[in-house]
Amino acid sequence: MTDSKYFTTTKKGEIFELKAELNSDKKEKKKEAVKKVIASMTVGKDVSALFPDVVNCMQTDNLELKKLVYLYLMNYAKSQPDMAIMAVNTFVKDCEDPNPLIRALAVRTMGCIRVDKITEYLCEPLRKCLKDEDPYVRKTAAVCVAKLHDINAQLASMLIAESHPNSNLLDLNPQTINKLLTALNECTEWGQIFILDCLANYTPRDDRESQSICERVTPRLSHANSAVVLSAVKVLMKFMEMLPKDLDYYGTLLKKLAPPLVTLLSAEPELQYVALRNINLIVQRRPEILKHEMKVFFVKYNDPIYVKLEKLDIMIRLASQANIAQVLAELKEYATEVDVDFVRKAVRAIGRCAIKVEQSAERCVSTLLDLIQTKVNYVVQEAIVVIKDIFRKYPNKYESVIATLCENLDSLDEPEARAAMIWIVGEYAERIDNADELLESFLEGFHDESTQVQLQLLTAIVKLFLKKPTETQELVQQVLSLATQDSDNPDLRDRGYIYWRLLSTDPVAAKEVVLAEKPLISEETDLIEPTLLEELICHIGTLASVYHKPPSAFVEGSRGVQHKRLPGSAGSGESVESPDTGSAPVASEAPPAVIPSQDLLGDLLNLDLTPTTTTGPPPPSSAMQMGAMDLLGGGLDSLMTAGFGAPPTAGPPSFTAPVSGGLDDLFDLGGGVGMPMGAYVPPKTLWLPAMKAKGLEISGTFGRRAGVVQMEMTLTNKAMSVMTDFAIQFNRNSFGLAPAGPLQVLTPVSPNQSIEAVLPLNTVGPVMKMEPLNNLQVAVKNNIDVFYFSCQYPISMLFVEDGKMERQVFLATWKDIPNENESKFQLNDCHLNADAASSKLQGSNIFTIAKRTVEGQDMLYQSMKLTNGIWVLAELRAQAGNPNYTVSLRCRAPEVSQCVFQSYEAVLKN
């Protein structure tokens, strides 16, 4: 008796029959019936009508039958939530069964039933099973907590908090890393993958830590499971960035990486393909790893075509003077293969070799000529396209081949090849006797050609005319009229007109323009853009590495997707990609016009009452800050040593100064300035009118108190019912503001009651540039609904306490920032003298560094630093008796100037 009969076609009264069988007294018959039900379920038939009958079979001590029933339950409980409740009792009972298999089974199944009502009952048994004596049950229960988190995050975090009070499990610090590394040696291959992937998210503090982690991960490279190997490679590739290149260990590591990567290629084609896609990335980042392993990328005749193409790509990336002869011999073989796509790519590869390795160019060209002799249509066309590129790299070197090319003019039928050929004819018109005839022959079918060919033909004929003006006047007029009068294509028309006017006004100038020397094409084509490559290296072994796209490009509603970056190298710092000077350290994404409500909602549903779990891990934003500091530090260093002869050790001291430096600063000023008055806090404004939020009214403001940014809110309940369960979440914003804790509204807000809430903020949240810069989008949740509003914060609250610059540094930095980054503002109607203004500004962490009086004008030089490390330098001019101040701001990120000025205005006028 076999199970296959269950799949046989069914009769009309099948459900009835099954019902009868399910209610049979005989165990065997019952089991057979449940199997039949499951078989129908698998093929997609609706057997939910049998729900009560199947659930009735649940009370059994036959484990096999029980498993089958549970399988059914998982599938249909969601569509029959009321009925599913019937099963709860059995679940609870099974969770206390003496047999650990049954306990685990019950917990596992309960977690898979995504019905709210069941979830309530789940917690108690789950709590018990987490403390079960049997490890298998405990493990199953632990996974069940994860399931619970998806259904009801609040309940799950309660459970976690019970066993781990006050600890953040997701925090990666050296202690946890150490534990993970120890566990790495003891767990199954699948566990190792999870651990390695987790390690890859950690950023070591320095190169020594990085090296010690690398040393402990390296043994994984010889694991039999290729997923383990690749995850280990990811960790190593990432941490290697931090190792100084002159270190011996660095070289050792490079050597160790090659063999496992090569071994990956002996797997089945599917795995080979995935491995090759990853190797392609690795080779672009660190070609030295595999430079001696060229041979393994030689194509086998029985490789599937997608593997062949990928190997070819890597071969070209690895080609160098040392191995070019070998590569070329291979490519020549490939070019006579059967598969058209592969042959084309091989021919193209020969051209790329010629461009990449100059010494081989001659040999490549002669190989290409051999291939053209075969007269195989697609080979000839492809060869002509690459020969055009070779001409562009080595002009005037291989014209001797032109004659051969011209012989094949007739066989060209692809636009790209035709365009390439026309380009060659135009470029070397003076060397080709019958160039005019050749081009004329193309002109006959001008309107049938593709745009690419038309444009090329136009240019080529103009070139020809400029080189041989006497014989080709007619031809050029013909093509110009074709292009300008008979064509609908604006590109073509415009180009035609430009040539026409050029030729008619000043033929000499035309010659200079059209026949100007062209820039040579670069050696490496189709490399992945460096920042994308860096990100992809961080995603080695994942889907992103197969698609060669960042996860944000293929994950919808990219919740939780962060842009990862490689850590900077310590010591030499040579591989750090320093951001362009002047660009603000904000992510380069376009600011969204509206709040992506779905996104926010997703985040909110994830919202936790424990403060730390929902805020994304800080590395991305802190990495950015590092970048900005680097940039500043670097710039200053070089300036100080170059221009001012100041001792280089002076460095910018404020980077290391403790944040609580308010008092020191005070003394620094010599006490002559007056008492600081504390940061300016603007009055509360209405953020969310009750009309828009079902009765909840929120007004609030931002302030900085004792070095902590706070959001101060008044929540007023203007509805008829009590409001509870408040929670808050921010959208990504320019400075990474995020709640540092949950919203503390402990008591329910009854109708017409107002409550004050103070929310401390930190700046380690995800960063996205907003418009205006200081815009903040907020979502507030209560028991009624989720509400969105946006507000603007005064940027002054982001000025940190250690924002006072050394005079020397200030001077150097001021000069270093280009003039176009300076913004001037007028501040009207300010009736303070310079000293009063200075002390007032000091309260908001805008520090006066020097004061000068020139011709009755007071000049204050001031500096401030934002939480993300951006420095803003200011010059404030005040004339005695004149209420109008002039503020000049210089900053490497000029975007912030407008906001900073608004803060000046706000502080000084209040």
């Binding site: 199970d3 699948w190 010889s222 694991h223 039999a224 290729s226 041979k295 005749y301 490789d303 796509d341």
Partner: protein, 438 residues
């Protein structure tokens, strides 16, 4: 993490379908089948995506084993590996992986999946761990019978008289049966050779597999060649030493005696395991098994004449079986006439592949075969001569390892288990990609 796992027949019927996370609808099955059947040959089938659902699949035993995921950080390697393990486990439990066995044992497979994956995270794929949880008995499509032994050789080899292990062991479920253990050394050989016989590339990928049918598994010791050297080129002094460039081991292998005595110690679980994998490139201990001496010319009538001498350089006692040489010929061949040196050989023209396929069922070591092929090609030019070749060979070399790796001994550490235990050691070398350029 994995959101769903399903197994489809080649016609797209659902055989097994299990959802682990509930975030992808069951319409994914249909979507997958549409996508996979619409693939053209040059598109990589490995990872496919639709909206934000990613499909990873392997094709084994005429079935699609598919996993879906929506998480961008899932590792396709891990998923493919997992699916391969699933396939191996089904083979271990049910004897073979086919539409029929999966249909017969769907309840068992559901049970397996339930234990292997929880909430989309892989828990365990080890047969030993899993057998503690599995209740359902496997049903084998065909009971094991001694009759099967009668005339089937190992790896298709015609070796009736030689003493070989029963091939049906490969398609037998674990439960029940005799206590037997098989150690297979399987190698795949890739060679690229120029016309003059110069090796341009030579590579051997090998694997030591243990398939264990012992009811209670004790430790076994596998002794490899004592002169085996790993990695270092410093040892390859006089050429006698057996060398591998690198090797990796199953995590359960204890290597205490490996450095000194080249002994692998392992307590194999029931079922099949790959104990050791190794690779060797460039300097093979033996000459490559085949050499080709071609001569190609145009005759007066404009036909293409190809003379081939093919020599088998194996030791005289060994022989190659199922040798097939595929000779690439120019475009536009119309007909072929051939002269072969013995009647059991055959040759045919396959115009769609531009190839002449020459088959030799059995090729003893140290012998030489010759063949003449005459091809009618209307548009024969001098350039078409360039299109001749390469010649690609496929073959099997039973009882031969290209690397020279051998199992010195296979010892079972005595346990309570009584009764005779059959121990088998088998060697075979397959061609992976053996190409001779002309």
């Amino acid at each position: 993490m994995i959101a769903q796992v399903f197994i489809l027949s080649s016609k797209g019927d659902r055989l097994v379908y299990k959802d682990f996370r509930g975030d992808i609808g069951s319409d994914a099955v249909g979507l997958f089948y549409d996508k996979v059947t619409a693939l053209t040959g040059d598109q990589p089938p490995v990872v496919m995506t639709h909206r934000n659902v990613h499909f990873v699949h392997v094709w084994q035993g005429g079935l699609y084993l598919v996993a879906t995921t929506i998480a961008a950080d899932s590792s396709p390697f891990a998923i493919i590996d997992f699916l391969n393990r699933l396939a191996a486990l089904i083979k271990d439990y049910c004897g073979a992986l086919s539409e029929k066995t999966v249909q017969m044992n769907f309840a068992l497979i559901y049970e397996l999946l339930d234990e292997m994956l929880d909430y989309g995270y892989v828990q365990s794929t080890s047969c030993d761990v899993l057998k503690n949880f599995i209740q359902t008995e496997a049903l084998s499509s065909r009971p094991f019978s001694l009759l099967d032994l009668a005339n089937v050789g190992l790896f298709g080899a015609d070796t009736q008289q030689s003493k070989v292990a029963p091939s049906s062991a490969a398609t037998r479920p674990l439960q029940g049966g005799k206590s037997e253990i098989f150690v297979d050394v399987i190698e795949r050989m890739s060679v690229v050779m120029s016309t003059s016989g110069v090796l341009m590339k030579a590579e051997v990928e090998g694997e030591v597999k243990v398939k264990c049918f012992l009811p209670s598994c004790s430790e076994i010791r596998i002794g490899l060649n004592e002169d085996l050297s790993v990695g270092g080129s410093h040892l390859a002094g006089y050429g006698a030493a057996v060398r591998v460039d690198e090797c990796s081991f199953h995590p359960a292998v204890r290597l205490d005696d490996f450095e000194a005595h080249r002994i692998l110690r392992i307590s194999p679980g029931q079922g099949e395991q790959s104990v050791m994998q190794y690779r060797l490139a460039d300097r093979l201990p033996l000459a490559p098994p085949f050499r080709l001496f071609p001569a190609i010319e145009k005759d007066a009538a404009g036909r293409l004449l190809m003379f081939f001498k093919l020599r088998c350089d194996l030791p005289p006692k060994s022989s190659a079986v199922n040798v097939s040489a595929s000779i690439r010929v120019p475009n536009g061949c119309i007909s072929l006439s051939q002269e072969l040196s013995s009647p059991d050989q055959s040759a045919e023209l396959q115009p769609q592949n531009r190839a002449v396929v020459w088959k030799v069922p059995r090729f003893p070591g140290g012998t030489q075969l010759s063949a003449v092929f005459k091809l009618d090609i209307p548009a024969l030019s001098s350039a078409s001569m360039m299109e001749v070749g390469p010649v690609c060979l496929t073959f099997e070399l039973p009882k031969v390892t290209a690397s020279g790796l051998h199992v010195r001994f296979l010892r079972l550490v005595p346990t309570q288990h009584r009764g005779p235990t059959q121990r088998w050691v088998r060697y075979v070398t397959h061609s992976d990609s053996y190409a001779i350029r002309i």
